[in-house]
């Protein structure tokens, strides 16, 4: 008996030791991953900087990290040639967000209407496929001609960029709504409107949210390209100006500012998604 107890407690000690060992390994691996990431960053940036200083890379064309940082600091402290940096960021952000909102709301509505109506979807699906395969950025030129150098042309381009992506996903999501679930709702007493609100939209939501991630990036591309093609403000103009002045550091600096904006937006969308899809089982 005492022997059995002893072996039992030995076994539990063993397990504790094994677990502690396993936890230590997991921690060590995490640290290894983080360490390697930092190492890669240091090697790439250091190599770039070093290469530029040693004359292997021509900083006139490809700039160098220190010059890019200096450019961003200069913009933040002294402002850009077209006004303070924050104004440029805000202008671009406003165009992007407006285009994103209008495009995605329109896309969701159109997707649901077409997804719920067989005839409309059969008729329009061909044209939507065609419209989707056209490189829509080209429309930016038309919008600048039509709506001028102000904000409207950029918003229009962002809307066009976003609309089709969101539309295609909303449409697909609606078509994939489980028909047993729809029948269940109908028999429980739901009207067609209630079926759409209570079954079709929630089941399409994961499709729609997935498309929102991609389409915010598209909205940003739309806004920046629009500014590039002709504008009085914005980060796109900043890039265009820098390009005209052969200022490679300026182009890279604007790129980094854009990346920060995009990352922040992506983080917000993730938070929204987690909130709206909390009913879903955790992905593995």
């Amino acid at each position: 008996m005492t022997q059995a107890q002893a072996s039992h407690s030995a076994a539990t000690m063993d397990i504790a030791a094994v677990e502690a060992e396993a936890r230590r390994k997991i921690r060590a691996r995490k640290q290894l991953v983080i360490g390697l990431r930092i190492a890669i960053l240091v090697i790439v940036l250091g190599g770039w900087e070093g290469g530029a200083r040693l004359g292997w890379i021509d900083p006139f064309f490809f700039s160098q990290p220190s010059a890019i940082v200096a450019q961003i600091v200069e913009w933040m402290v002294e402002g850009t040639s077209q006004g303070p940096l924050w104004t440029q960021v805000l202008v671009t952000l406003e165009e992007t967000v407006l285009g994103f909102l209008i495009g995605s709301v329109a896309g969701v509505i159109a997707g649901i209407i077409l997804g719920r109506n067989k005839l409309l979807s059969d008729v329009f699906s061909l044209y939507i496929q065609i419209a989707n395969s056209i490189p829509r950025v080209v429309l930016g030129s038309i919008f600048v001609i039509a709506f001028g150098l102000g904000m409207a042309s950029k918003v229009a381009l962002a809307v066009v960029m976003v609309f089709f992506v969101v539309f295609a996903n909303a449409f697909q999501g609606v078509r994939e709504a489980d028909r047993y679930m729809i029948a269940n709702a109908q028999i429980l007493g739901a009207s067609p409107r209630q079926v759409t609100m209570a079954v079709v939209i929630p089941s399409a939501l994961s499709w729609i949210l997935a498309s929102l991630h991609v389409s915010f990036g598209f909205a940003l591309v739309g806004a920046v390209v629009g500014e590039f093609l002709g504008s009085k403000q914005g980060i796109g103009l900043l890039i265009s100006t820098a390009q005209g002045a052969f200022n490679a550091s300026g182009v890279f600096a604007a790129m980094i500012v854009l990346a920060v904006v995009a990352l922040a937006a992506d983080w917000l969308l993730h938070a929204l998604e987690r909130r709206l899809l909390k009913w879903r089982p955790q992905a593995f």
Binding site: A183, L188, G189, P202, W279, R280
Partner: protein, 275 residues
């Protein structure tokens, strides 16, 4: 054998009760597939379900058993013949009908409480009323502690309980069930069959229970309809005179159950071989 059963049942059943809850008269059902071909799912099929009666429909896989249920709900229209519910021709979805599906048809984005409350809320009750009623039904199916859980957090048997509560909360006079327990394991299925009989006896609506499991049909039903292979038509009807209340774990070992089972299986086997 075939003829005797039909004779004994169809006319006598009708005379006993003023109007049957469900009546299918010489119904045929033809589907047109997307590429324009026609297949016949049901051929000259008649069935009558009295009020408060529990009817099971068995037949080989894919013979068209589920089609009978779709016809009763009005989700499908017969090509020939007539379907009546409570004496009236079927026209759209009747609010007195409840339906339990084979697959999980509970809404995964709603908590158990919101799932159960769906029916009353669709039918215009306030949220408070619907939730109060839902809590009562959640208790009755033994899920008291799970009102705020989402379906993916529950086991298959628990999700079925949610589906039952969701259906029973509307107090349907007619309950249609399409192989509701076929995806469950043996033990859970037996529990759910008992649960169903308990809910049904407290509530006393008519039930049409479609299944391919003959033992399940005999254990639950007052009457078993056997369908032929596709295109399905009625092969024979068997009354089941096992006394109620029945307990699932015990009834299947009674001699009378075994005899009935053997008799119907002999009949069904021919059709299964054709299918």
């Amino acid at each position: 054998m075939n003829a005797i059963h039909q004779q004994a049942f169809t006319p006598a059943g009708q005379a006993a009760q003023a109007t049957p809850a469900i009546e299918l008269r010489n119904v045929s059902c033809r589907f047109i597939t997307a590429d324009g071909r026609a297949t016949v799912a049901l051929r000259d099929f008649s069935m009558s379900v009295a009020r408060g009666e529990f009817v099971a429909v068995v037949g080989p896989t894919g013979c068209g058993k589920s089609t009978t249920l779709s016809l009763i709900t009005g989700l499908l229209k017969p090509t020939l013949g007539e379907v009546r519910v409570m004496g009236q021709p079927v026209n759209g979805i009747d609010p007195r009908i409840g339906f339990v599906f084979q697959n999980d048809a509970v809404f995964p984005w709603r908590s158990v409480r919101d799932n159960v409350a769906a029916g009353p809320m669709f039918r215009g009750q306030s949220k408070e009323q619907a939730h109060a009623l839902a809590d009562e039904w959640i208790r009755r199916v033994g899920l008291d502690k799970f009102g705020d859980h989402y379906p993916h957090q529950l086991s298959g048997g628990m999700r079925k309980r949610v589906a039952l509560a969701q259906t029973f909360i509307n107090s349907p006079e007619i309950l249609l069930m399409d192989e509701p327990f076929s995806a469950l394991d043996m033990q859970t299925r037996t529990l759910m069959q008992d649960e169903l009989l308990r809910l049904w006896s407290a509530h006393s609506g008519s039930v049409v229970f479609v299944t391919h499991d003959l033992e399940e049909a005999i254990a639950l039903a007052d009457k078993v309809y056997v369908l032929t292979a596709r295109p399905a038509t009625l092969k024979s009807v068997y009354p089941i005179d096992l006394p109620r209340p029945r307990v699932m774990e015990e009834v299947r070992y009674e001699q009378r159950f075994i005899d009935t089972s053997r008799r119907i299986w002999a009949d069904l086997r021919e059709e299964v071989h054709i299918a």
